[in-house]
């Protein structure tokens, strides 16, 4: 039986849903599962790793792991993978995963595949599927090494109803040495209390069409009404109107919510490749020729300053 080690995706003291999605996928291919959690003060998270579907839990819990540092994190993953005897090591797609996964693969001398949307065994060989060239093509890739390190694209592995809990078997990992070559001095944390784009069932994104802060506030109001994650396009980040961590797109966050509402975004390919995995897309734009309409299930051609207030009103009335 194949053994799959899933790296717990922990943000603000919580295990993200993606961790359970990866564990469920591992179980669905008949694998024995383990999770590794890396950070500080993790004790309270162990039950969610068990209920998420892991059969053993490797815990690297140390004050020195409070701030992310790719080197020490990779050391913990390699340690857990060796103790568990992992055949596959899966990360949910985050910026930190992308920094750690290639290190782990290099240290273990095995293949590394990022942004994968599927993985399967054909005989003894592992094969993965992943998009490339800004989502324009899909690659089917044969893994030549016996083991694989993979970063899984957001929303690729859906939870199934049969997802079952695992069992508790906690193994403590020793704290890794700090990386003296790259010392993290400070974290300037993003504003807390916001809905994580990767977790949100609905994402509302705002583009250059809003023109200024007043326009942003208007669309943010729509996001708040819906309890939605609030995203943006590259142009808004470059102009300094929105923060980097809100960027949806090829280099920003890749999202796949149930509903994606795009407001005042024309739809550059860089942006589209970050959101076309969404289940349903609604676009609002005053230019009927905007490329965003080519991927939108529903398009409203109109002035967003007119449309958004009506949209908020309509949504409020159905919420009642």
């Amino acid at each position: 039986m194949a053994k799959v080690l899933v790296i717990a995706d922990i943000k603000r003291g919580e295990v993200k849903r993606s961790t359970a999605e990866l564990l469920a996928k591992a179980r669905s291919i008949g694998a024995e599962t383990a999770a590794v959690a890396i950070g500080n003060n993790l004790e309270a998270l162990i039950p969610s790793l068990v209920s998420g579907g892991s059969d053993s839990q490797y815990i690297a819990d140390d004050p020195g792991l409070e701030l992310f540092s790719a080197g020490p994190y990779a050391t913990c993953v390699v340690d857990a993978a060796s103790q568990f005897g992992a055949d596959q090591i899966w990360f949910a797609s985050t910026e930190n995963s992308k920094a750690v996964a290639p290190k782990v693969a290099a240290r273990l001398g095995v293949a590394c595949a990022t942004d994968i949307t599927d993985v399967a065994y054909t005989g003894d060989n592992i094969e993965i599927t992943r998009p490339a060239i800004a989502n324009k093509v899909i690659q089917r890739v044969k893994i030549n090494s016996e083991k694989l390190v993979a970063v899984v694209r957001a929303g690729a592995f859906k939870m199934t109803d049969e997802s079952t809990a695992g069992s508790e078997n906690v193994i403590r990992l020793s704290a890794p040495p700090t990386d003296l070559g790259a010392v993290v001095k400070e974290l300037i944390a993003d504003a807390s209390g916001e809905i994580d784009l990767g977790d949100a069932a609905i994402v509302v994104s705002v583009g250059r069409g809003v023109k200024d802060q007043k326009g942003i506030d208007l669309v943010k109001g729509l996001a708040d009404d819906l309890g939605a994650g609030f995203g943006t396009s590259r142009a808004m980040v470059d102009s300094g109107l929105m923060e980097h961590n809100k960027q949806v797109g090829q280099t920003g966050k890749i999202v796949a919510p149930k509903l994606y509402i795009s407001v005042g975004i024309s739809g550059a390919i860089q942006h589209l490749s970050g959101m076309t995995g969404s289940q349903v897309i609604l676009a609002v734009n005053n230019d009927p020729e905007a490329p965003i309409f080519n991927v939108a299930d529903y398009g409203i051609v109109g002035d967003l300053f007119e449309v958004v207030p009506i949209l908020r009103q309509q949504i409020k009335s159905i919420q009642r």
Binding site: D115, I138, V141, A182, L259, V280, G302
Partner: protein
């Protein structure tokens, strides 16, 4: 400070990509410098202008597109160019490319390697990180600012999942840059003219002092079996007209047809 900037030739992603018989159709494709590597070139040239760094650009691939990419680097202000031209490297994976770059690095005693965070064609984002791991030197990825403290230390800002991380980075080191780090300059006409005259150092693996076996060329850890076209989303329905009317109509559809509200 000596900087090695690694750049990759990629297919122009703005153009239509056709797939036939499980392969990408070459005809009609155009190649450009990977956009994130342009950010790496810009960051390198800024370190040259502001801190007197010496800059060398390396690109793996022997064709004319690669030569043009190196010349573009010259025109942006890069001092030296190296082109690794060896037909054996066609189809090399990230691990093999990282070994080749390691040889280039070791030949030149560099202090800093700068590269784009990922390539637009594969979106792998691995080569720079693996290079650092092989060299056993520190690496910071997704960097949005580089400040020089002294000859041996940089202060870099990384965009991580929790926010901006301020990292003290000891040289030698590898930095992979985000597209948010800068706005790459457009080469000026004068720069382009001068770039044509500049000499590019062209080397194959033997000239680099290595071999196909040594860089692990015969054991690619992964190989692409086939390409297929992405399931393109189909354009849905566009509503134009009275804002109140069409908005109400669309909200109704989101509730009753799409069932997402």
């Amino acid at each position: 400070m000596k900087i090695l900037t690694t750049v990759k030739k990629v297919v122009d992603v703005e153009l239509t990509i056709r797939v036939e018989s499980a392969a990408i159709v070459e005809e009609g494709l155009q190649y450009v410098m990977n956009a994130w590597d342009e950010n790496a070139v810009e960051a390198s040239v800024q370190l040259k202008e502001n801190n007197g760094a010496e800059t060398t650009l390396v690109s793996i691939g022997g064709d004319d597109d690669n030569t043009q990419i190196i010349r573009r680097g010259f025109a942006m202000g890069i001092d030296n160019g190296i082109q690794i031209d060896d037909p054996l490297l066609a189809g090399a994976d990230s691990f093999v490319l990282a070994r080749v770059l390691q040889k280039v690095y070791e030949k030149g005693s560099y202090d800093l390697v700068i590269t784009g965070k990922q390539a637009q064609d594969t979106d792998n984002g691995q080569t720079g990180i693996i290079l650092a791991e092989n060299l056993e030197i520190p690496c910071v990825s997704n960097v949005v600012a580089i400040d020089v403290i002294d000859d041996e230390l940089l202060k870099v800002t990384r965009l991580g999942d929790g926010g901006k991380e301020i990292v003290e980075l000891k040289l030698p080191a590898v930095v992979t840059v985000s597209d948010s780090i800068n706005e790459p300059r457009l080469p000026q006409m004068r720069g382009l003219m001068m770039a044509k005259k500049k000499k590019i150092e062209v080397m194959d693996l033997a000239a680099l002092g290595t071999s196909f076996e040594e860089v692990g060329g015969s054991d690619n850890r992964s190989e692409i079996l086939e390409f297929s076209r992405s399931q393109a989303r189909e354009a849905g329905k566009k509503y134009e007209g009275d804002a109140a009317e069409i908005t109400a109509q669309v909200v109704g559809l989101l509730v009753n047809e799409a069932k997402v509200l």
